[in-house]
């Protein structure tokens, strides 16, 4: 029990430090630029693109999909940037030399970004409601909220996986950029996954967002938990798998870097 309390303290402290030192949008200008302007313009761009291609009647399909994909802004960019910033600020060797529980330290990297991801989606959904008149009268709001939380967790899981690569890659934030925009193509955000080639569809269902966005669309249309439970369970499983793979990769690369004294060599 005492050990659990201690680990809890490490988690809280690590999360707090991660926020004050590594959360790169923790100033008004940065937050407005990347957490308000970027989401709003992303939604506007893809909705107008969709409207031009398929007509005004489909605006909400694009609006909702892109609002939900914004979780990746925090889950992918935020989490990967956390490790990248450790490296940039010269604290990575100190972190790797500390005796703190690795799993706790690892998961604490994502916590603030999960909360931030939820906040970003709320901003995105507010934009969709105000500008595009998303009608949530028949929506299952609690379920929609649950979907947003689940998607935020699962995208952070993917972020942890790619964040680990930051241990051995100097420009890991480039990976974040690629993954973020790749999710727009393969996760059914702007067009159904069924239009993708077979092999890419397999990748789609191995990634977060695909099932979560589908579940959220159903929830917005009024579906019940029973109807989308399978999708959400699958989404969580995918996110956990990526987080676990990320943790294993983190340990592998950490040991590798420590054995060779290579913490800052990449």
């Amino acid at each position: 029990m005492k050990r659990l309390v201690l680990e809890g303290q490490v988690f809280v402290r690590s999360t707090y430090l991660q926020y004050v030192a590594l959360f790169q949008w923790a100033n008004p200008q940065g937050y407005v630029a990347y957490k308000v302007l970027l989401p709003v313009t992303q939604i506007l761009f893809f909705v107008e693109l969709g409207v031009y291609a398929t007509g005004r009647q489909n605006a909400l399909y694009f609006a909702l999909g892109n609002a939900l994909q914004l979780t990746a802004n925090a889950g992918i960019f935020g989490v990967i940037a956390t490790v990248a910033n450790e490296r940039q600020y010269g604290t990575l060797p100190i972190l790797l030399a500390s005796p703190a529980n690795r799993l706790v330290t690892f998961l604490s990297r994502a916590f603030v970004n999960v909360i931030d991801g939820i906040a970003t989606v709320v901003i995105g959904l507010a934009v969709v409601v105000v500008i595009f008149g998303l009608n949530l009268q028949h929506a299952n709001l609690l379920l929609l909220a649950l979907c947003v939380v689940v998607i935020s967790l699962t995208t952070a899981g993917l972020g942890l996986m790619f964040g680990s690569i930051g241990l051995v890659m100097r420009d890991a934030i480039i990976i974040a950029n690629i993954v973020y925009y790749l999710l727009l193509i393969v996760c059914g955000i702007n067009f159904p996954v069924s239009r993708l080639p077979g092999a890419v569809q397999v990748l789609s269902f191995a990634l977060p967002l695909t099932r979560g966005v589908q579940a959220a669309r159903d929830a917005a249309a009024g579906a019940s938990l029973g109807q989308v439970g399978g999708l959400l369970a699958g989404e969580l499983l995918v996110g956990l798998s990526w987080a676990l793979a990320g943790y294993l990769l983190f340990r592998l690369l950490e040991n590798w870097a420590r054995r060779g004294g290579l913490q800052e060599a990449y």
Binding site: Q29, G30, V32, A33, Y34, V36, L37, L38, V40, T41, Q42, L44, F45, F46, E48, L49, G50, V51, Y52, A53, T54, D171, I174, N177, I178, Y181, L182, L184, I185, N190, F191, R195
Partner: protein, 261 residues
């Protein structure tokens, strides 16, 4: 004059060398454009959509890449100088700032043009999409006018990045807004009237309109007006840039806080 040209050429050469080894440059001219072209082509080739829409997918990714490299390289070039601790040296040299930026931005534009290659190849091999009614002469002129407009915008924006650190973040956050207002992947005509008004004061909007018109047989083809509008607006930006450069030089020397703003 010759020494200024030599300085600009030197800035061009150094910036090109740095670009060749920078993974960010490849992200901007190769990866981003293809990713955007992929989304664009999938959405624009939705069953039932007009076939002429696909043109926006073919060129749209390239335009996005071109713009990204053009303004990012100018702006990020200044941020990089700041982070590398060389911004003060650039300001302290007898060569005017605009001459150094001229070289850097020309390098960015040349590199940015590359963005059209992977997107066109992706559109052709992935979607069998081509430009159906290409008017090569007008297309080339429109691209030239667009390049002038990108050049003027990059030259105008860059002093802002030197003056205020947050200016780059703001523009970076608004990047997709520029795609919307300049009609990179769909016509500006579908936007709300007030947004069309804002788009009208952006030089690239008119050049992009001319560029797309040169690939389509239907719709208006008022090239001369569009080119003139772009050129006029671009020259207006340059006039504004003149005052901005004076302001930056003065502020930088007066406050001595260039690396801290």
């Amino acid at each position: 004059m010759r020494s200024l040209a030599r300085a600009a050429l030197s800035a061009f050469r150094v910036s090109m060398r740095l670009r060749v080894i920078s993974p960010w440059a490849y992200l901007n001219w190769l990866v981003f454009p293809v990713l955007f072209a992929a989304v664009g082509l999938y959405v624009l080739s939705t069953p039932g959509a007009a076939s002429s829409h696909v043109v926006y997918g073919v060129l749209g990714g390239g335009l996005i890449g071109y713009w990204s490299v053009a303004y990012l390289d100018g702006g990020n070039g200044i941020q990089d100088e700041r982070w590398n601790g060389t911004l003060e040296q650039i300001f302290a040299t007898p060569t005017p700032l605009w001459v150094i930026l001229l070289g850097k931005i020309c390098g960015g534009l040349l590199f940015g043009l590359l963005a059209f290659l992977p997107t066109a190849a992706f559109a052709y091999f992935g979607f069998h999409a081509v430009l159906p009614a290409l008017d090569a002469g007008r297309f080339v002129i429109s691209l030239g006018v667009l390049t002038l407009s990108f050049f003027c915008i990059a030259l105008t924006l860059t002093p802002l990045f030197a003056l205020w650190r947050w200016a780059f973040s703001m523009l970076n956050g608004f990047e997709l807004g520029v795609y919307v207002l300049c009609g990179f992947m769909f016509p500006v005509a579908i936007l709300a009237p007030w947004a069309q008004g804002v788009a009208g004061v952006l030089g690239p909007t008119w050049a992009v309109r001319a560029l797309y018109a040169s690939t389509l047989s239907e719709g208006p083809h008022d090239y001369a007006s569009w080119w003139l509008a772009t050129i006029g607006l671009s020259l207006a930006y340059l006039a504004g840039a003149y005052f901005l450069y004076s302001l930056v030089e003065r502020r930088a020397r007066m406050s001595g806080q260039l690396a801290m703003v």
